[in-house]
């Protein structure tokens, strides 16, 4: 039971990465490699602040803010200097590898004995989970509820934001830049803002993961963009074609499902060394499958 709850907690926490990738990749069609670097960035910034004795909530939000800055740098590399999305992300994530190491001071810092945002939330929610009948696993259940509530809040905020005039303009700019420019929107600025939001979510995830697992590691972000994509695809496959709100919820559900699948595979005897390869294969399958599954030509239906 405890293992299952912990798996869920990880899945939900990584759901923020999936939400970030949803914003960058789905809304802006921007395959943003920065994700790998900003995930670690969020973790190291928050960890350093926690170890220095800061309150966990502002420390966590500072991690997210650092991610927003990294994302807007990538956005500016692309929008202002005209660098290809993939290359802009690679440059940024390479630079971040140094930045992260400098911030953290060494490659791995534990959070033992430091109160985390999850400890704070747990203290509030524990009576509730105990009342709900969780006994041995009341702590884990409380932590899961806390991250779940945070994820739902993020989904709600994202949904509301992307239905505002500004958010709708951002979606239009990501979908069809020619249209957005013809209607007066500065698509460069919108891209920068979109990547800032995306990487804030990714870094928030890193900040939370560090606090869930109890340490930050400079390697922890490797493969996160692919994890995010896998979750986005899996979520889309779970619910089919839906509107914005459904797609956001499905993305979090995709992350949880993917984490559960990974846990099941590990339990069935998959060597953890193969995990990243398996993740990459899932994304590859998701990219290639539509070409073999759809017999109806979608493009000509637009006529």
């Amino acid at each position: 039971m405890i293992t299952l709850l912990t798996t869920w907690t990880f899945g939900v926490t990584l759901g923020f990465v999936a939400l970030g990738v949803f914003v960058s990749y789905r809304l802006f069609a921007f395959p943003d490699i920065t994700t790998d670097g900003s995930f670690t960035l969020g973790a190291v910034v928050t960890t350093v602040l926690l170890v220095a004795g800061h309150h966990p909530l502002p420390a966590t939000l500072a991690g997210a803010a650092a991610g927003a800055m990294a994302g807007s740098c990538t956005g500016m590399l692309h929008a202002l200097l005209g660098i290809e999305p993939l290359l802009a992300g690679i440059l940024m994530t390479t630079a971040l590898a140094s930045v992260n190491l400098v911030i953290l001071g060494r490659s791995n810092v534990p959070l033992s004995g430091v109160p985390t945002v999850l400890d704070r939330a747990e203290a509030v929610i524990l009576p509730l989970t105990q009342a709900l009948g969780f006994t041995d696993s009341a702590t884990e259940a409380a932590r899961l509820l806390a991250v779940l509530a945070a994820a739902m809040l993020a989904v709600l905020i994202l949904y509301l934001f992307f239905r505002t005039s500004l958010g709708t303009a951002m979606r239009a700019g990501g979908d069809t830049p020619t249209m957005a420019r013809a209607l007066g929107r500065n698509t460069s600025l919108l891209t920068v803002a979109g990547l800032a939001i995306a990487n804030a979510l990714v870094a928030l995830s890193g900040a939370l993961v560090a606090q869930v697992q109890g340490f930050a590691d400079v390697q922890m972000g490797i493969g996160m963009v692919v994890w995010g994509m896998a979750s986005v695809y899996l979520g889309a496959a779970l619910v089919g074609p839906v509107r914005l709100g459904g797609a956001l919820l499905a993305t979090v559900a995709g992350s949880i499902t993917f984490r559960l699948l990974v846990a099941a595979a590990l339990r069935a005897g998959l060597d953890p060394d193969w995990l990243k390869l398996a993740t990459a294969v899932v994304v590859l399958a998701a990219l290639v499958a539509p070409r073999f599954l759809s017999h109806r030509p979608q493009a000509s239906a637009a006529r």
């Binding site: 239905r163 709708t168 303009a169 979606r171 069809t176 637009a302 006529r303």
Partner: protein, 270 residues
């Protein structure tokens, strides 16, 4: 009112000479005039339109709209004055957004996009009545992704979007070229009606002789980056396909149009 004066756009062909796609073109479109622009592929008419839209930078010359010099303005800044409908419906509308959301982006043209709800009830009512007036039935599809509409329907929504706030100049870049004839007819009718009702100043590039002869109150033929023909007033109203062919021939005889171009023009338009 649109004033183009001495507009020049030059490209350097790879390893070759400098080509003037637009070569010192000047013309004025008074407020409320509907100008049809024709020309062969590579004649410079698209570059000319792009230089007004802001997608192409002028090397020299100026462009003024409503008295404002917009020559150095970026594409998105020009949206304050200029409304556009693209040739490809997929370029002018965002497929994954609903019809109403697309219209919401258009309703914010030239304004600050803030944190207010994009698809307010008043906007929905207004969109519904405007669509019903121009293409009955479309108002029932406000909440569907615009990508699920046909190309013709998307172009009509594009027209409604470009004219949501009356633009000082409406640019139509072969906006029926990607459609089947029946859909093209419907879009042309919608265009004529919007231009008439809103008394729009419009510039329409077309490859259709029918449209060139039957629409607008002035016709410009662009050839080799220059305006080779400028017909307006009563002459434009009387203009028939045959008469246009005759004008092509006269131009050819006057050596202003080479044989190949004259032939292409006839093939394209007649």
């Amino acid at each position: 009112m649109l004033e183009v004066s001495a507009a020049t756009v030059a490209f350097t062909a790879p390893g070759g000479p400098i080509v003037r796609a637009v070569d010192g073109v000047s013309f004025t479109v008074p407020a409320g005039a509907f100008v049809v622009v024709i020309g062969t592929n590579g004649s410079g008419k698209s570059t000319l339109l792009g230089s007004i839209a802001g997608t192409v930078r002028l090397d020299s010359g100026t462009i003024r709209v409503a008295g404002q010099d917009i020559t150095r303005w970026r594409e998105n800044q020009r949206a304050r004055y200029v409304g556009r409908v693209f040739q490809d419906p997929r370029a002018g509308t965002a497929a994954s957004l609903t019809v109403l959301e697309n219209i919401a982006v258009a309703a914010a043209r030239g304004r600050h996009a803030g944190l207010g709800w994009a698809t307010r009830r008043t906007l929905r009512a207004e969109a519904s009545s405007r669509l019903a007036a121009i293409a009955p039935g479309l108002e029932m599809r406000l909440d569907q992704p615009i990508g699920s509409l046909s190309g013709g329907q998307r172009q009509i929504v594009s027209l409604v979007m470009a004219t949501w706030h009356r633009p000082d100049v409406l640019l139509l870049d072969e906006h029926t070229a990607a459609l089947d004839p029946a859909a093209a007819d419907r879009v042309v009718q919608a265009t004529a009606r919007l231009v008439r009702d809103q008394k729009l100043t419009a510039l329409m590039v077309t490859h259709s002789l029918k449209q060139a002869a039957g629409l607008g109150d002035r016709l410009l033929l662009v050839h080799r980056g220059r305006i080779a023909l400028d017909i307006d007033g009563a002459a434009k109203r009387r203009l028939s396909a045959d008469a246009l062919a005759g004008r092509f021939d006269r131009l050819r005889r006057a050596d202003q149009l080479d044989d190949a171009a004259a032939r292409t023009l006839r093939d394209n338009y007649i």
